[in-house]
Protein backbone atom coordinates (compact mmCIF):
# COMPACT_ATOMS: atom_id res chain seq x y z
CA UNK A 1 0.00 0.00 0.00
CA UNK A 2 0.97 3.61 -0.39
CA UNK A 3 0.06 4.80 3.09
CA UNK A 4 1.85 4.93 6.43
CA UNK A 5 1.95 1.47 7.97
CA UNK A 6 2.16 0.82 11.68
CA UNK A 7 2.59 -2.47 13.47
CA UNK A 8 1.32 -4.06 15.53
CA UNK A 9 -2.16 -2.57 15.41
CA UNK A 10 -2.76 -3.69 18.97
CA UNK A 11 -0.33 -4.65 21.71
CA UNK A 12 -1.13 -5.92 25.18
CA UNK A 13 1.72 -6.41 27.59
CA UNK A 14 2.46 -6.63 31.27
CA UNK A 15 3.73 -3.75 33.31
CA UNK A 16 7.50 -3.68 33.36
CA UNK A 17 7.99 -5.23 29.95
CA UNK A 18 9.65 -3.46 27.02
CA UNK A 19 7.71 -2.84 23.80
CA UNK A 20 8.67 -1.84 20.29
CA UNK A 21 6.31 -0.09 17.92
CA UNK A 22 7.09 0.12 14.23
CA UNK A 23 6.30 2.72 11.59
CA UNK A 24 6.82 2.44 7.85
CA UNK A 25 6.39 5.91 6.33
CA UNK A 26 5.33 6.70 2.82
CA UNK A 27 8.21 6.21 0.42
CA UNK A 28 10.03 9.46 -0.16
CA UNK A 29 8.71 11.15 2.97
CA UNK A 30 11.73 12.38 4.86
CA UNK A 31 9.89 13.80 7.86
CA UNK A 32 8.50 11.33 10.40
CA UNK A 33 6.59 12.08 13.59
CA UNK A 34 5.42 10.08 16.60
CA UNK A 35 2.43 11.15 18.68
CA UNK A 36 0.68 9.66 21.67
CA UNK A 37 -3.07 9.85 22.06
CA UNK A 38 -4.58 8.87 25.38
CA UNK A 39 -8.24 7.84 25.47
CA UNK A 40 -10.41 10.69 24.23
CA UNK A 41 -7.53 13.12 24.32
CA UNK A 42 -5.53 15.11 21.79
CA UNK A 43 -2.27 14.24 20.11
CA UNK A 44 0.77 14.62 22.30
CA UNK A 45 3.93 15.23 20.30
CA UNK A 46 6.70 12.78 21.13
CA UNK A 47 9.50 12.96 18.59
CA UNK A 48 10.22 14.23 15.11
CA UNK A 49 12.79 13.02 12.57
CA UNK A 50 13.72 15.32 9.73
CA UNK A 51 16.00 13.84 7.12
CA UNK A 52 19.57 13.54 8.30
CA UNK A 53 19.25 16.14 11.05
CA UNK A 54 19.24 15.28 14.72
CA UNK A 55 15.72 14.35 15.81
CA UNK A 56 13.62 16.67 17.93
CA UNK A 57 13.08 14.61 21.09
CA UNK A 58 11.51 17.40 23.12
CA UNK A 59 8.20 15.58 23.54
CA UNK A 60 9.46 12.30 24.95
CA UNK A 61 7.90 12.03 28.43
CA UNK A 62 10.72 10.14 30.13
CA UNK A 63 14.00 8.37 29.47
CA UNK A 64 12.06 5.13 29.18
CA UNK A 65 11.01 6.32 25.73
CA UNK A 66 13.34 6.26 22.76
CA UNK A 67 13.04 6.15 19.00
CA UNK A 68 15.26 5.55 16.08
CA UNK A 69 14.97 5.76 12.37
CA UNK A 70 17.14 3.50 10.31
CA UNK A 71 18.18 4.40 6.80
CA UNK A 72 15.89 7.38 6.77
CA UNK A 73 12.85 5.16 6.44
CA UNK A 74 11.45 2.78 9.05
CA UNK A 75 11.18 4.05 12.60
CA UNK A 76 10.89 2.16 15.87
CA UNK A 77 9.53 3.66 19.07
CA UNK A 78 10.71 1.75 22.14
CA UNK A 79 9.20 1.99 25.59
CA UNK A 80 11.20 0.34 28.34
CA UNK A 81 9.80 -0.89 31.66
CA UNK A 82 6.27 -0.01 30.62
CA UNK A 83 3.88 1.56 33.11
CA UNK A 84 0.09 1.62 33.08
CA UNK A 85 0.07 5.30 32.19
CA UNK A 86 1.81 4.38 28.93
CA UNK A 87 -1.47 2.86 27.73
CA UNK A 88 -2.54 4.88 24.70
CA UNK A 89 -2.71 4.89 20.94
CA UNK A 90 0.64 5.69 19.38
CA UNK A 91 0.30 7.40 16.02
CA UNK A 92 2.99 7.80 13.40
CA UNK A 93 2.86 10.31 10.58
CA UNK A 94 5.09 11.20 7.69
CA UNK A 95 5.33 14.12 5.32
CA UNK A 96 7.52 15.63 2.68
CA UNK A 97 10.18 17.67 4.42
CA UNK A 98 10.51 21.20 3.28
CA UNK A 99 7.00 21.48 1.93
CA UNK A 100 5.23 22.83 4.96
CA UNK A 101 1.97 23.33 3.14
CA UNK A 102 1.70 19.60 2.69
CA UNK A 103 -0.23 17.71 5.33
CA UNK A 104 0.96 14.80 7.34
CA UNK A 105 -0.17 11.35 6.41
CA UNK A 106 -1.05 9.24 9.41
CA UNK A 107 -0.95 5.55 10.08
CA UNK A 108 -3.80 3.80 11.84
CA UNK A 109 -1.85 3.74 15.09
CA UNK A 110 -0.87 1.09 17.59
CA UNK A 111 -3.16 0.67 20.57
CA UNK A 112 -0.94 -0.18 23.53
CA UNK A 113 -2.50 -1.63 26.65
CA UNK A 114 -0.42 -2.16 29.77
CA UNK A 115 -1.89 -4.63 32.24
Amino acid sequence: GAGVSQSPSNKVTEKGKDVELRCDPISGHTALYWYRQSLGQGLEFLIYFQGNSAPDKSGLPSDRFSAERTGGSVSTLTIQRTQQEDSAVYLCASSIQGLSNQPQHFGDGTRLSIL
Binding site: G42, Y48, D56, S100, N101, F106
Partner: protein, 114 residues
Protein backbone atom coordinates in the same frame (compact mmCIF):
# COMPACT_ATOMS: atom_id res chain seq x y z
CA UNK B 1 7.31 27.53 21.72
CA UNK B 2 4.19 27.34 19.65
CA UNK B 3 0.91 26.35 21.23
CA UNK B 4 -2.50 25.48 19.82
CA UNK B 5 -5.65 25.89 21.88
CA UNK B 6 -9.08 24.46 21.19
CA UNK B 7 -11.36 25.80 23.88
CA UNK B 8 -14.39 23.64 23.10
CA UNK B 9 -13.93 20.02 24.26
CA UNK B 10 -17.34 19.04 22.86
CA UNK B 11 -19.99 20.53 20.62
CA UNK B 12 -23.31 19.42 19.22
CA UNK B 13 -25.16 20.58 16.14
CA UNK B 14 -28.42 19.62 14.52
CA UNK B 15 -28.14 17.82 11.21
CA UNK B 16 -28.16 20.27 8.26
CA UNK B 17 -27.23 23.20 10.51
CA UNK B 18 -23.95 25.11 10.59
CA UNK B 19 -21.35 24.82 13.33
CA UNK B 20 -18.09 26.65 14.01
CA UNK B 21 -15.16 25.11 15.88
CA UNK B 22 -12.66 27.51 17.34
CA UNK B 23 -8.88 27.34 17.41
CA UNK B 24 -6.30 29.84 18.54
CA UNK B 25 -2.57 29.56 18.38
CA UNK B 26 0.48 31.32 19.63
CA UNK B 27 3.65 31.81 17.62
CA UNK B 28 6.38 34.32 16.94
CA UNK B 29 6.95 32.97 13.46
CA UNK B 30 5.66 34.61 10.31
CA UNK B 31 5.87 31.57 8.06
CA UNK B 32 3.56 28.76 9.07
CA UNK B 33 0.65 26.63 7.98
CA UNK B 34 -2.56 25.66 9.69
CA UNK B 35 -4.62 22.52 9.29
CA UNK B 36 -7.82 20.97 10.48
CA UNK B 37 -7.91 17.19 10.81
CA UNK B 38 -10.87 14.94 11.45
CA UNK B 39 -10.60 11.72 13.44
CA UNK B 40 -13.68 9.48 13.25
CA UNK B 41 -14.07 6.48 15.57
CA UNK B 42 -12.01 4.45 13.11
CA UNK B 43 -9.02 6.38 14.49
CA UNK B 44 -7.76 7.38 11.04
CA UNK B 45 -6.67 11.02 10.85
CA UNK B 46 -8.15 12.73 7.80
CA UNK B 47 -7.11 16.13 6.51
CA UNK B 48 -10.11 18.45 6.26
CA UNK B 49 -8.62 21.76 5.18
CA UNK B 50 -5.36 23.71 5.17
CA UNK B 51 -4.39 27.39 5.23
CA UNK B 52 -1.12 29.09 4.41
CA UNK B 53 -0.41 31.97 6.76
CA UNK B 54 0.72 34.23 3.91
CA UNK B 55 -2.64 33.93 2.19
CA UNK B 56 -5.34 36.35 3.25
CA UNK B 57 -8.11 34.49 1.50
CA UNK B 58 -9.87 31.95 3.67
CA UNK B 59 -9.57 28.36 2.51
CA UNK B 60 -12.71 26.50 1.46
CA UNK B 61 -13.33 22.83 0.73
CA UNK B 62 -16.93 22.09 -0.17
CA UNK B 63 -18.95 22.37 3.07
CA UNK B 64 -15.85 23.22 5.12
CA UNK B 65 -14.39 26.70 5.36
CA UNK B 66 -12.10 28.55 7.71
CA UNK B 67 -12.08 32.00 9.22
CA UNK B 68 -8.38 32.84 9.44
CA UNK B 69 -7.63 35.95 11.48
CA UNK B 70 -3.85 36.24 11.44
CA UNK B 71 -3.56 39.25 13.72
CA UNK B 72 -5.76 37.58 16.29
CA UNK B 73 -4.07 34.21 15.72
CA UNK B 74 -7.40 32.56 15.24
CA UNK B 75 -8.29 29.76 12.85
CA UNK B 76 -11.87 28.58 13.19
CA UNK B 77 -13.52 25.86 11.14
CA UNK B 78 -17.06 26.25 9.84
CA UNK B 79 -19.02 23.20 8.77
CA UNK B 80 -22.13 23.99 6.74
CA UNK B 81 -25.07 21.65 6.20
CA UNK B 82 -23.79 19.27 8.88
CA UNK B 83 -24.13 15.58 8.09
CA UNK B 84 -24.15 12.55 10.36
CA UNK B 85 -20.82 11.51 8.87
CA UNK B 86 -19.23 14.69 10.19
CA UNK B 87 -19.38 13.34 13.73
CA UNK B 88 -15.78 12.98 14.86
CA UNK B 89 -12.95 14.55 16.83
CA UNK B 90 -11.58 17.61 15.08
CA UNK B 91 -8.01 18.71 15.64
CA UNK B 92 -6.46 22.02 14.77
CA UNK B 93 -2.76 21.82 13.89
CA UNK B 94 0.09 24.29 13.42
CA UNK B 95 3.04 23.53 11.21
CA UNK B 96 6.17 25.65 11.40
CA UNK B 97 7.57 26.84 8.11
CA UNK B 98 10.96 26.93 9.78
CA UNK B 99 11.42 23.35 10.95
CA UNK B 100 8.25 21.52 9.86
CA UNK B 101 7.38 20.65 13.44
CA UNK B 102 3.64 20.14 13.84
CA UNK B 103 1.70 20.84 17.01
CA UNK B 104 -1.92 19.79 17.61
CA UNK B 105 -4.67 21.17 19.80
CA UNK B 106 -6.47 18.90 22.25
CA UNK B 107 -9.41 18.46 19.92
CA UNK B 108 -13.14 19.15 19.82
CA UNK B 109 -15.57 16.25 19.77
CA UNK B 110 -18.43 17.09 17.41
CA UNK B 111 -21.80 15.37 17.79
CA UNK B 112 -24.38 15.57 15.00
CA UNK B 113 -27.97 15.35 16.23
CA UNK B 114 -30.43 13.74 13.81
Amino acid sequence: AQTVTQSQPEMSVQEAETVTLSCTYDTSESDYYLFWYKQPPSRQMILVIRQEAYKQQNATENRFSVNFQKAAKSFSLKISDSQLGDAAMYFCAYRSGKDDKIIFGKGTRLHILP
